[in-house]
């Protein structure tokens, strides 16, 4: 964790909303931007700026594919602008493969790949990777579909980097001494995370939506799992799941198929297949009635607010309608939440919404950090915006702007090969149609104001809205009580008496 140092931005991050991909928008005349002077909450539209109405059509680069004899799928996206590469071994077993009484095992396994192999110590690996100027990381989420090992580096060091990459993927040793070090290190880091208010809010929000049994109810591994971790458990998870027939190797960069295939044969050709058990995807639980959780964090000068509901699966037919509804609501500085809570009210540095979906239903969440004494005003505006999206049809022009935002950003993605590669991985993971990203713009363009309202009413289900606030409870408690019964917790997640 680096503290913010010496630099401030107008908005939180540079590439905040990098949408994605694809080509040729089929629609004709483009979507007109508003040229009539008008006032939106938080913005004054003079309509004098010269906007090119045409949405630029872009052609996405094609990926090349191959499969090794042992079943390893290879996807390559050539990008020759700079002499670097990026590769990801996407193992199709992640946190969802964990046993219910051993959450975090996939995550621990990935994290310990770099801590020693049959022929290299943890320190050897660190030195050799860094000396090449390369990166080598591995991770799996608590409820992820996959475990990912990623390497990047300079093409002149490709061979050596690939050898290290293959070594940690295929021959990790999980030395017991390193496992013990990992356990104490991770337990200490978990303590540190509890000092971050956004961590506390996200932790409680996931619990509010997914209850206690679903893997997505956790954002950090439980201490019990960490404490019982052994080298053998890691080796077993690895042996079962890290198999070529259970993985996709995705590569982007200054390499060609012809040059890289022999290298991949050498690195992975004799990797043995295995029978990988099928993982059943646990559905999200039935939602409880709306509840309000307040986490007391003494000394806080802001209230971190997160409000949301259960969203959609990634493959939901409602995906594009939710994408646009979310964009209108809080997809960046041109979204309603930002314009209202920041530009109009001055309550916050930023207010946004987000949604995500996996093979189980994800969340749809609105959030902001506001100074304690405007917690009430912020709650009011959040509820106003959620209700507005449900109760009023989105003006056609506002929806058209959201469409232009998404479709137009495809041009920018051409300078982000890693993003393009990630899209290809997404298409494969969710068995989306092969032309999914090519037709994405048409799907976006087809959404109507009625579609947006329909999904707002369906998913922003206020009867089941979960509200999490982290801050100074002595000040926030009475404000939140106006919206329902408040449940109070401390920063360890323990319930506190409410009065």
């Amino acid at each position: 964790m680096r503290i913010m140092k010496n630099r401030s931005n107008i908005i939180l991050s540079l590439m905040l909303i990098v949408l994605v991909s694809s080509l040729a928008l089929g629609q004709g005349g483009g979507m007109p931007a508003g040229q009539q002077p008008q006032t939106t909450k938080g913005a004054v539209i003079k309509g004098k700026a010269p906007v090119n109405k045409e949405v630029l059509k872009v052609k996405l680069p094609r990926a090349q594919e191959a499969t090794l004899k042992n079943g390893l799928q290879v996807v390559l996206l050539e990008a020759h602008k700079v002499p670097t590469f990026n590769m990801q071994m996407v193992v199709l077993s992640g946190g969802l493969a964990d046993k219910a009484d051993y959450r975090g095992l996939a995550s621990f396994t990935a994290s310990l790949l770099r801590e020693g192999t049959a022929k290299r110590s943890s320190k050897d690996l660190a030195e050799q990777v860094d000396a090449l100027g390369a990166t080598l990381t591995a991770n799996a989420g608590l409820s992820s579909l996959t475990s990912t090992v990623a390497a990047s580096g300079l093409v002149e060091n490709l061979d050596q980097t690939l050898e290290l990459f293959a070594d940690v993927i295929r021959k990790p040793a999980f030395p017991q001494a390193e496992v013990e070090k990992y356990k104490t290190r991770t337990l200490a880091q978990l303590q540190f995370q509890r000092s971050i208010p956004q961590f506390l809010a996200a932790e409680q929000f996931q619990r509010a939506i997914y209850g206690s049994g679903h893997p997505a109810s956790l954002i950090a591994p439980p201490a019990d799992s960490i404490k019982k971790l052994t080298s053998k458990d890691l080796a077993d998870f690895h042996a079962t799941n890290y198999r070529p027939n259970n993985a996709i190797l995705a590569i982007v960069g200054d390499v060609t198929m012809k040059d890289i295939m022999p290298k991949l044969e050498k690195a992975f050709g004799d990797w043995q297949r295995g029978d990988v058990p099928t993982v059943s995807i646990p559905p999200a639980p039935a939602q409880t009635d709306s509840r309000i959780y307040l986490i007391d964090r003494p000394g806080s000068v802001q209230t971190v607010l997160q409000l949301g509901t259960l969203g959609i699966e990634r493959t939901s037919p409602d995906y594009f309608a939710v994408l646009l509804a979310d964009r209108v609501l809080g997809g960046g500085p041109s979204g309603r939440l930002f314009l209202n809570l920041r530009e109009d009210k001055g309550y916050t540095y930023g207010a946004y919404s987000n949604f995500g979906g996996s093979k189980f239903r994800g969340t749809w969440i609105s959030s902001s950090e506001v100074r304690t004494d405007v917690t009430e005003g912020a709650m009011k505006e959040f509820m106003y915006e959620l209700n507005r999206l449900r109760n009023e049809t989105v003006p056609a022009e506002e929806l058209d702007n959201a469409k232009r935002a998404i479709i137009g950003s495809f041009a920018l993605s051409l300078e982000q090969p890693a993003t393009l590669l990630q899209n290809i991985i997404t298409q494969k993971l969710y068995n989306l149609p092969a032309d999914y990203w090519d037709t994405y713009p048409q799907h976006v363009a087809a959404i109507t104001p009625a579609d947006v309202q329909r999904v707002a009413q369906k998913y922003i289900d206020l009867g089941h809205l979960q509200v999490v606030a982290v801050g100074d409870a002595s000040k926030a408690r009475d404000i939140l009580a106006k919206y329902g019964k408040v449940e109070l917790y401390d920063a360890e997640g323990k319930p506190l008496p409410i009065n």
Partner: protein, 454 residues
């Protein structure tokens, strides 16, 4: 909204020096810069690149928190926010909508040494980006309501990044302790009191003095034809009147004579933390690059000496890291470590000082030098991928060092660093009398009414 140019245009245009060709070895990526200065003093740098259908612009103004006066800390950044609250032909907040709703991305950032504004959009929106940047350079709309609104937003930014985060205040207090010259002796975000004191008159005065074409660099990278783009730039910007040059800032920083030390009590922190800084040198100097290499060896990545010693071997910290800060004036070499339970801060300091001593006495290993150079090369080369990162970098090098072509030559400067250089700068700068130490201690939390029932 085309403007008719009232001036003859062509000024002197020169292509900057071409990098000497590499005979062998790794492929280099060259950024082909063209530079022009408009009649009103606006420096224009263009890079034509047809590899993707995008256009990126940055305007880098030669003003930062170093230009602030006592009682107005945070003002340069607060002003930056005002640049999004409208101008003659662009409404308040309309800038966000025009950029994002056309598939673009943007931001504005302020640091000690410069303020920049940048947008990236599909290439057919070149007219739009030039309009947005020129309109606010020529006609910023300044109102009390807008100032109050952004004062609030900035104060929330401060709370979000500083006041509501563990260790948030430690960095700010350290900066105030390291420096003697007021230019760097305060944070960019500024104090709440000073933010409250800012007036509309301050905004107008600042705009007139610093947001003049002769105090800015316009950088344009992307899919356009240079001659055509330059003509449009002249149309949009050349009529904006030049202003008297802003007064120079005295950046003299006196030699530090003794270690400085401070302990901060932090109710939001859960573990003690040690923050070290050694006052060093300005950026883009030979010693700066040597200190960057040293930083990679001491605290960069899992192979670093401090990670191996403190995280892995002795298991005393949860994390350790740091960097050599790049400044136009004197920058500092930073190291920080967050402690594990039951570890004493003085023991952490002792280990770090021991490792620093070793850097003074023994040359670094071959692989360590290689690591620093390869890592730098990967980072620099990757940063050349996108137009937006190129406009930011070029604009910064132009304003910082009057050397936009540093984007092409920087790698050579890092490559020139030797083991002897690293040892020399360790002995020269990483000395006790140059050091500022801030220790953050978790402070027992006061009981709030919530837990006690009033």
């Amino acid at each position: 909204m085309r403007r008719v140019s009232k001036f003859l245009s062509p000024l002197f245009v020169c292509a900057l020096a071409v990098l000497s060709a590499q005979a062998q070895g790794p492929r280099n990526v060259r950024v082909d810069l063209k530079e022009t200065t408009l009649k009103n003093g606006l420096r224009v740098i263009t890079v034509e690149d047809h590899s993707a259908p995008v256009v990126a612009i940055s305007i880098t103004y030669n003003v930062g928190s170093r230009n602030e006066r006592q009682g107005r800390t945070g003002f340069a950044h607060l002003f930056e926010h005002m640049m999004f609250k409208g101008s003659e032909n662009v409404g308040s907040g309309e800038h966000f909508m025009l950029v994002f709703n056309n598939g673009g991305n943007m931001n504005g950032t302020t640091n000690e040494d410069r303020t920049n504004y940048f947008e990236v959009l599909p290439a057919n929106q070149l007219d739009l980006v030039l309009f947005l940047e020129s309109d606010r350079m020529k006609s910023l709309a300044i109102t009390k309501d807008n100032l109050d609104n952004q004062r609030n937003a900035v104060q929330e930014e401060r709370r979000l990044g500083v006041d509501n985060q563990p260790y948030g205040k430690s960095g700010e207090l350290q900066q105030e302790l390291i420096y003697d010259n007021f230019a760097y002796k305060h944070s960019v975000i500024g104090s709440m009191d000073d933010l409250n004191a800012a007036t509309v008159e301050d905004v107008s005065g600042f705009f007139k003095m610093y947001y003049a074409p002769n105090n800015a660099v316009l950088t344009l990278v992307g899919d356009f034809k240079t001659a055509e783009a330059l003509a449009k730039i002249r149309n949009s910007f050349e009529s904006i009147p030049r202003q008297p040059d802003p007064p120079p800032v005295d950046m003299t920083e006196p030699q530090q004579k003794a270690e400085r030390r401070l302990t901060v009590d932090d109710v939001l922190a859960r573990a003690p933390r040690v923050d070290l800084a050694y006052k060093a040198v300005p950026g883009n100097t030979a010693d700066f690059y040597a200190l960057q290499v040293l930083a990679a060896v001491l605290q960069g990545g899992q192979s670093s000496r401090l990670y191996q010693k403190l995280v892995k071997e002795k298991e005393m910290v949860t994390n350790v890291g740091g960097f050599m800060d790049e400044k136009r004036g004197v920058g500092a070499f930073y190291t920080n470590a967050t402690l594990r339970p039951n570890v004493k801060t003085q023991d952490i300091e002792a280990v770090i000082y021991e490792e620093i001593d070793r850097l003074k006495k023994e040359p670094i290993a071959d692989w360590e030098l290689q690591k620093a150079k390869n890592t730098t090369r990967r980072n620099i080369v990757n940063s050349l991928q996108s137009s937006i990162s190129r406009v930011i970098t070029i604009g910064q090098y132009a304003v910082y060092y009057n050397d936009p072509n540093l984007i092409n030559t920087r790698l050579d400067k890092v490559a020139a660093v030797t083991k002897e250089d690293v040892q020399r700068v360790a002995n020269k700068y990483l000395v006790d009398t140059n050091r500022t130490v801030v220790i953050t201690m978790p402070k027992a939390k006061a009981k709030t009414a919530a837990g006690t029932g009033q």
